[in-house]
Amino acid sequence: MDLTVLFEQYPYLREAITAAAVIFVNLCALFILIAAKRERRFDDRHWIRESRGYMLVCGDQAYSLGAAEVLIGRHPAADIRFPDTEISRFHALLSLSDGQWRIEDIGAQNGVLVNGRRIHKPCILHQNDAITIGKRRLIVVKGAEGRD
């Protein structure tokens, strides 16, 4: 099978085929991009399942639990931040593992209360549990999923 003759006959044949191949590989890359975009939605669903769709509600304000670790405190770095003096700068840490949210006191002066009881070791959270931090009362709530 000798193709050199063919190439000599059509000088730009090889370039054309190369370009076609490149376009094809790019097409594959495009599929991967689309897949990655869909995967994000897939990942969101996965996360909702994993995190049970829990959120924290304090009065009218709702706070998302979008990561495996969520920091509560007065410090600007805290994910859930309250400017109250009764609340320590780094007050409590919520973490997700084994499909369950745990709350941990990380050196808070006034402590962390779950359902009115002060905790001393990480405590598993359930739906409608009330967390008291300083004067704030946070309720664990399952978020309502939008239908679209």
Partner: protein, 467 residues
């Protein structure tokens, strides 16, 4: 417990979202660098090919298609002397000369394009007139020197030659026995300009004191003159010119007159330095931007002006001693005087490129220089110079409306003393809008004179422009 159920929000905390943003920033930077790389590779690839010897080269042509350099075949295929007058200007691909058209535009000349690779012939079209160049070359006779001329209306360089000059068709085998200066085009290298410098000094005086005041200024000359610090300025006419006004002194090229002008109270040294600097001189070692033309570098003019009562400073302002100007720059100033604006059109040699696919790219064009001096000064100097030409050089230029300034540079090198003869000027005729500079090395009174060569040059240039 019937609590309100908030809409589900699973967005990650802001502090963690930064990780994604940060990666995005890195990716963006990388992609930008990649685009820059691709652009560099595509645009520089002819240069890479040229440097690595992986390509052949095309031809350099003059304005009528005559070959000035040919990379596609042996130069010995051409008639003898074909390249004798342009070797040091156009150059070749041997790498022996670095400040030539070919060396500075080697990537442009490569027979190569990124899309199609090697093949075909690239043509670099220049504005030079080979016929005119050869005519002027022959006019030099046995003398060495340089001549450069350009169309001050369009910027096209018509004539540029430097004698002695290497014949690139002969190669470099007998490099050692070649006369010195064969490998460089003297039009681009600063040299002592002689009295052509008085044009610059006059411009400074006009700018500082006003036209009328300077034109009415009278000084006397008795053949020599002793300045405030005791230094003696000699005139070339030992019997002296007597009392003269500016126009006469300019025509006489009287040294004592201009030395007194420099020393006079009306022209402070700072004004002289300011005008010189604006014109492109490097004064007292201050950095000055070198000039360029199609990649060729032309070092800036330089002079030393320290104390206006000192001999050294006055001598410098008269164009002797430490003052150095390239013929190219002299010609450029003439261009700015001829158009009466104080800003010249930049000279160029490469007009267009025809690439291997036959596409023509325009390379040169109308580009003005910065304002080098005021339009009033330019117009006034133009009048003085045309008057000078009409009164004293009609024998050389016939009916042409020209303006010129002559000069004689006293050069001392290697224990040898000689005089270089200059003539710089312009022609205002519509058929020959040319600014030029001619320099004859080691001229004695029996040799061909600069005005004679200039006359030939103007006729040749007019013929080239009429084509």
């Amino acid at each position: 417990m019937a609590r309100q159920r908030p809409d589900l929000d699973i967005s990650a905390p802001r502090s963690m979202q930064r990780a994604g943003k940060f990666t995005g920033l890195l990716l963006l930077l990388f992609s930008a660098a990649l685009v820059y790389l691709a652009w560099t590779l595509v645009t520089k690839s002819p240069y890479y090919m040229a440097k690595s010897g992986g390509t052949t080269y095309g031809k350099v042509l003059d304005r009528s298609g005559d070959v000035l350099f040919d990379g596609t075949q042996s130069l010995s295929n051409y008639p003898a002397g074909q390249f004798a007058d342009v070797g040091s200007l156009i150059g070749d691909t041997s790498g022996q000369m670095s400040n030539t058209i070919v060396a500075r535009n080697i990537g442009e000349l490569a027979n190569y394009s990124f899309l199609y690779g090697n093949g075909g012939t690239t043509l670099l079209n220049t504005t030079l007139s080979h016929t005119a160049n050869k005519t002027v070359w022959n006019a030099f006779g046995a003398k060495n020197g340089t001549a450069i001329a350009y169309n001050w209306k369009t910027g096209e360089v018509l004539i540029c030659l430097s004698k002695p000059c290497i014949d690139i068709a002969q190669g470099y085998a007998n490099l050692d026995s070649m006369p010195s200066g064969s490998l460089l085009c003297k039009a681009f290298y600063p040299t002592v300009p002689g009295s052509t410098q008085k044009v610059s000094t006059l411009i400074a005086a006009y700018e500082k004191c006003g036209i009328k005041k300077v034109n009415a200024l009278e000084f006397s000359c008795s053949g020599s003159w002793v300045n405030a610090s005791g230094g003696q300025i000699n005139c070339h006419l030992s019997s002296g010119h007597g009392m003269q006004n500016l126009s006469e002194a300019f025509a006489n090229s009287c040294n004592p007159y201009f030395a007194q002008l420099v020393q006079s109270e009306m022209l402070p040294l700072s004004a002289l330095i300011e005008t010189y600097t604006r014109m492109g001189y490097s004064v007292n070692g201050e950095e000055a931007e070198p000039l360029t033309m199609d990649g060729i570098t032309i070092p800036a003019a330089s002079t030393t002006l320290t104390d206006k009562n000192e001999f050294e400073t006055q001598w410098g302002a008269l164009g002797q001693g430490k003052t150095l100007v390239s013929p190219f720059q002299l010609m450029l100033w003439e261009g700015a005087i001829a158009n009466g604006s104080g800003s010249a059109i930049k000279p160029y040699l490469l007009s267009s490129k025809t690439d291997t696919d036959g596409n023509v790219t325009k390379l040169g064009g109308l580009k003005p220089t910065a304002q080098m001096f005021s339009a009033e000064a330019a117009a006034a100097v133009r009048d003085i110079m045309t008057e000078n030409a009409a009164n004293h050089y009609a024998w050389a230029f016939g009916s042409r409306r020209c303006g010129v300034k002559s000069g004689t540079a006293q050069v001392r090198t290697d224990g040898k003393e000689y005089e270089n003869s200059f003539l710089t000027g312009f022609c205002l005729d519509d058929d020959c809008p040319v600014a030029f500079c001619v320099m004859i090395e080691e001229r004695t009174s029996s040799d061909v004179s600069a005005p004679q060569i200039a006359g030939t040059l103007l006729n040749a240039a007019a013929a080239a422009l009429a084509e």
